[in-house]
């Protein structure tokens, strides 16, 4: 599947990465090369093969519904870019 510059900009937007025209052009050629590599998969007949996500076929563990975490708000917010009154600050989203 051939990519074009519009695809690159759309993907970058989905990934929330700002990209300018020159970067989009450079990315297009590199990504096309990588997708060319990936296309080799399409020659393989995988009908009826169960997808594999984990080698050990384990199941999600369950635990007792009890509190295991302690409140570490101050510690965790000490590394945030902007906080006030125990809240994370971001640009205004509601007028």
């Amino acid at each position: 599947m051939a990519l074009n510059i519009t695809d690159i900009k759309r993907i970058a937007h989905l990934a929330r990465i700002e990209i300018n025209e020159a970067e989009a052009q450079a990315t297009l050629s590199k990504l096309s090369g990588i997708l060319g590599l990936i296309e080799q998969m399409q020659a393989v007949d995988t009908t009826g093969i169960t997808p594999m996500s984990h080698s050990q076929d384990v199941v999600q563990r369950l635990r007792e519904d009890v509190i295991t975490e302690t409140n570490q708000r101050e510690l965790l917010q000490s590394i945030a870019p902007a906080v006030a009154g125990g809240l994370y600050l971001v640009p205004k989203v509601i007028e």
Binding site: I11, L35, M52, S55, Q72, I79, P81, Y88
Partner: protein
């Protein structure tokens, strides 16, 4: 002392021939001398390090020492260590002070080991040369014009240059084994699920696995004893009884069936690397092993499959870096969306962005079946190849990397050429199998690694197989001549 095994260092501490503070200072001095040219470490904190060494000395004096108590270990900068800057090689986390310890870090702390510092790495472990690090490339201690491999390039250079007693690494597609091959030491990627991923910054969660990087198989066994273990906080951590990984170090290789996959000796393998591997295999025959011809017919698909699965998982994992709770935030932006877009554009380097974009693309609407699902199906075929192979042999051997260390800049602008560095290592990550690389000789003065792959949970036997070879060869004891290299510089 710098070339001593972990066991020998432990004995020196036990006999009070040296204190942990003195031993640690010796390595800190070497780091101070050579790190400015090698760039193996991103963060050093001598005060913190020496405080740990003091505690270790007190513990040794009180008679409570464990095998690694007091021994200075370098930690890959992918492991969160409380109070330490933990960057993952990225501008995104350049000022991130970890608020908690990774499982691996707490295991070393409990064992009384000393954290010598945080080592350089490809950004978010995405790379095979350490050139994608925001903190600059790392020099290969055997030739300063060449790369150490990646992504655990800083740990690799630190072990090879004897700037630490041993180091940790992580391996998603070969990031422990390929640098072990390029820098000439012993590195092991355990079975997926053996070492908890808690606090290990995520790249591709179904493939990421931490492991030891050290001089010898014996050293790796002692390291893995500390690193392996069940942890509730990693949902893929396997709940198995604790093992002693040194238990088979003195096993006999008589009758051991070593499988050589045809596909690993085909086109693409450097002829001089192939010769070194053949000589190593001949050595194993002398030790009593039988050589079996095997096939891993889908192995050529491992790179395409990997470059769907790993970027897909990465694009999801790295969505957490939004400039809100931690990490880089752009200084100028218009609104929330703009803040996300600019923070991520500024915080991530080119290779990380490429992988996020590939991952976003293959997971986007309409493409899931053609890419992600297809890749997971072929992943099973690749794993099944190994299941079939292990019916015919006990251990699989081959080259770790297709070539010796390449020159810095040689592949930096060609992602596909760089990806082929991991052609022999990726399949075991996809299958979840353990793999290791041991020094097997040199080609034109550069180290060559022999790869040893085992069945699930067969680490103790793999270490025994490696140790037997290291009893009759001395490749693992060879050290680069750093002084001569610095003079060339």
């Amino acid at each position: 002392m710098i070339n001593n095994s972990l066991k020998q260092l432990g004995q020196m501490l036990a006999k009070k021939e040296i204190s942990s503070v003195e031993m640690t200072q010796t390595f800190l001095n070497r780091i101070q001398q050579y790190n400015p040219s090698i760039n193996a470490f991103i963060t050093l904190d001598a005060d913190k390090t020496l405080a740990q060494a003091k505690l270790a000395d007190a513990r040794i004096a009180a008679g409570g020492a464990e095998p690694l108590t007091g021994i200075p270990i370098a930690q890959k900068d992918i492991f969160c260590a409380k109070g330490w800057r933990t960057t993952c090689g990225s501008k995104m986390l350049a000022n991130f002070i970890a608020p908690y310890d990774a499982y691996v870090i707490s295991q070393f702390d409990t064992a009384g080991a000393v954290n010598l510092g945080k080592t350089n790495m490809d950004e978010f472990a995405m790379g095979s040369s350490n050139e994608t690090s925001f903190f600059g490339g790392v020099k290969n201690p055997w030739d300063f014009d060449r790369v150490p491999g990646g992504s655990s390039g800083g740990s690799a250079a630190a072990v090879a240059a004897r700037l630490c007693a041993a180091a940790t690494g992580t391996d998603t597609g070969g990031s422990i084994r390929q640098p072990a091959s390029l820098c000439g030491f012993t590195g092991l990627k355990p079975t997926y699920g053996l070492v908890s991923r808690y606090g290990m910054i995520a790249f591709a969660s179904s493939l990421d696995q931490a492991g030891p990087m050290a001089k010898s198989a014996e050293d790796c066994a002692l390291m893995l004893d500390v690193m392996a273990g069940f942890d509730e906080r990693d949902s893929t951590s396997l709940n198995r009884p604790k093992e002693l990984y040194s238990r088979d170090l003195n096993m006999s290789l008589k009758g051991l069936r070593i499988g050589l996959p045809r596909e690993y000796f085909a086109e693409g393998l450097d002829v001089n690397v192939a010769k070194v591997i053949e000589v190593a295999i001949a050595e194993y025959k002398k030790l009593g092993a039988e050589i079996v011809d095997i096939s891993l017919p889908n192995s050529q698909l491992s790179i395409p499959v990997y470059y769907v699965l790993a970027p897909a998982e990465a694009s999801s994992n790295l969505s957490r870096y939004d400039g809100v709770r931690y990490g880089h935030r752009a200084t100028q932006y218009n609104d929330l969306m703009d803040m996300y877009m600019k923070s991520r554009a500024e915080g991530f380097g080119a290779e990380v962005k490429r992988r996020i974009l590939i991952g976003t693309y293959v997971l986007s609407a309409g493409y899931y079946d053609a890419y992600y699902l297809k890749a997971q199906q072929i992943r099973r075929l690749i794993a099944d190849d190994f299941t079939q192979a292990f019916k015919k042999c006990d251990i699989i051997m081959g080259p770790t990397a297709p070539s010796t260390a390449f020159k810095a800049g040689e592949k930096a602008d060609d992602p596909v050429a760089m990806y082929l560095q991991d052609v022999y290592t990726i399949a075991t990550n996809l299958a979840g199998l353990p793999g290791m690389s041991i020094p097997a000789g040199f080609s034109n003065g550069l180290p060559v690694g022999l790869q040893i792959m085992g069945n699930y949970f067969d680490e103790a036997r793999m270490l025994g197989v490696a140790h037997a070879y290291q009893q009759v060869t001395d490749w693992h004891m060879r050290m680069p001549d750093l002084k001569a290299l610095e003079e060339i510089e």
